[in-house]
Symmetry: C2
Subunit: 352 residues, 2 copies
């Protein structure tokens, strides 16, 4: 009998109750009842998002330590709330646990949940633990809030809008490549490698950046978080309006770590920044007149937002303006489809 | 390549969008964005619950048709909202799909989601579809609302309170037994068998009964929905107050179908009604002075609530007053622990 079969489900629940200490004043009733109870904020709508991570499909227990996995499961959902311009509030976690799961692994995940709860100011207020015959899975639902008068959707981009992105692109995909098994390990400094692996294992949801945008008076047209790769998620912003886009190669924000490791291994940074999954950066469109103001406001707040291209009226066409001045069309399917067998594996989810 | 690998994840999402037609006026933004947006009701708290159902652990695709499975996945969560005295509002569904899942099966589940959405007046407003290497799983999160001034928790029972239960007990457990493989199939009429199987495959969440209680002025002490068996879930109501209970054998509500099938096969109805899982009936405590009034109000509304025992000060002791007049102590562990390997399999989840 495994550690945690001995503990039983009620022992496990007690363990959750005692170890998850981060509380929200808005939660009236947390772990331990039939449902969590929390009070909504006057003048705000509620927003909710859910994401499942499945062992071997979205993570491997040998490349992602349990603490990072716990953090990540929360962060990818917080990222969806951020993409609406929202503030996260309450998380619910379902764990599907094979009988062989070591208790140490579960404790590690709890640490990760606790860290993410503190980082994002949320309370893990409920959930479900079930047996899973073979593969571990984690499903997180995150509830948050957006101002009634101001939230962002995937619709609303206009031709001429500037495309903006937070942070840097491609780090998580290169981190995943670093963690994978290869005949020849990738060259480069440990500090840079660690940075990239961390970006894959435990991404940071851009809630601070989302709040900056929601508070600003800038005309933000549409917003999405990049989980399936820049080009693919960009296409979701363009779809509803039948729009196109032009990306500027020279403007794409690459981290120092990405540039160094790519250079040391003769890899093309573009193959990570255009189609690499799991950046969890925010991609949004902005009226050109507001670009300077927003860039400045982000700098003041020690955050990063970079103009990377523009929206065009050229329906369905996404192209890349190369450093050489040449305009290259990009294939529509550049990115990740979770069910196409040929696709690379990564941790994104796909919203329904 | 399977049907649904051909369809791809975006094809699947489009399918969801076009087939799930039941809408709520409170939902501002449903399927298809990063998160669902909905407006909370003034003067009400929000409640949220999540439950995972895993193939082979909680259901078998050969005993539960996909439509029933979809209905059930929603209903078991609505039941948690009902247990708080709440009204359901919005559902989020994560599907973990093995590549071999027939599209027909997915379409069947969608029908079930749609039916349950209409039955309970909710909108399926978002979710996630992911690949699962081997076993299908469904995680549903349900958000609902309770009046700020009146909702029910697992705490609040007092010695002397009457124990009440909605509907009938043990049907789902007997239904599961009927669906299982046996050397000798159970005897009895088809109508009764179908009723019991239906109670296992697609239970009805008692939202109407919950609303009656929430609107009444009766002193409801504590409430829970019975998913792991009467005695086990009763123990959760008693725990926080260090209380005990006495159940009355003669009062336990057994359906005609359960009585007939048990009689025809020399089975003891008690083994189903005391410890059988997945009833999804509401168990609540009531001031004795309110029992008549509530029973009458339920009758008027064509609903059922039965007094089945009383709360005692006898900490941790649950006993059964037999028809013979003898008082028998019941073992504490009568019921279902999801991780103890010796336990029977059923579809309940265990809240964290």
């Amino acid at each position: 009998m495994s550690d945690f079969e001995k503990l039983g489900e009620f022992g496990l629940i007690a363990r959750f109750q005692s170890r998850l200490k981060h509380r929200s004043r808005r939660v009236r009733l947390g772990i331990g009842d039939d449902a969590a109870v929390y009070s909504p904020r006057l003048g705000w709508h509620q927003v909710a998002s859910t994401d499942a991570l499945v062992e071997t499909v979205h993570f491997r227990t040998d490349t992602t330590p349990p603490e990072r996995l716990g953090e990540k499961a929360i962060a990818v959902n917080v990222s969806d709330i951020a993409a609406m311009g929202g503030v996260p509030l309450v998380a619910l976690v379902s764990l599907g646990l094979p009988a062989s799961t070591p208790l140490k692994f579960i404790d590690g995940m709890m640490k990760g949940f606790e860290k993410a709860s503190a980082d994002y100011g949320i309370e893990l207020a409920g959930g479900d633990t079930v047996a899973s015959p073979r593969h571990l899975f984690i499903n997180v639902t995150l509830v948050g809030e957006v101002r009634k008068s101001r939230y962002f959707t995937r619709a609303g981009a206009r031709p001429g809008d500037t495309l903006m992105v937070t942070g840097s692109l491609g780090d998580a995909a290169l981190g995943l490549a670093l963690l994978g098994k290869r005949r020849q390990p990738l060259q480069g400094g440990t500090k840079h490698k660690n940075f990239l692996c961390r970006r894959h294992q435990a991404p940071t949801a851009r809630v601070r950046e989302a709040a900056l945008l929601a508070r600003s008076r800038a005309r933000v047209g549409a917003m999405i978080d990049i989980s399936d790769g820049l080009v693919q998620d960009l296409s979701h912003l363009l779809e509803s309006g039948g729009l196109g886009a032009r990306l500027w190669e020279d403007a794409l924000p690459h981290s120092t770590a990405l540039r160094r490791i790519c250079a040391a291994n003769r890899l093309n940074p573009l193959s990570f920044s255009l189609s690499g999954g799991e950046d969890y950066e925010l991609l949004f469109t902005l009226a050109p007149v507001d670009v300077k103001k927003i860039t400045r406001q982000f700098q003041k707040a020690n955050a990063l937002a970079t103009p990377i291209g523009e929206v065009t009226a050229n329906g369905g066409q996404v192209s890349l303006l190369r450093s050489s001045g040449r305009l290259e069309p990009l294939p529509r399917a550049l990115g990740y489809d979770h069910f196409k067998p040929a696709s690379p594996k990564h941790s994104g989810g796909s919203k329904i």
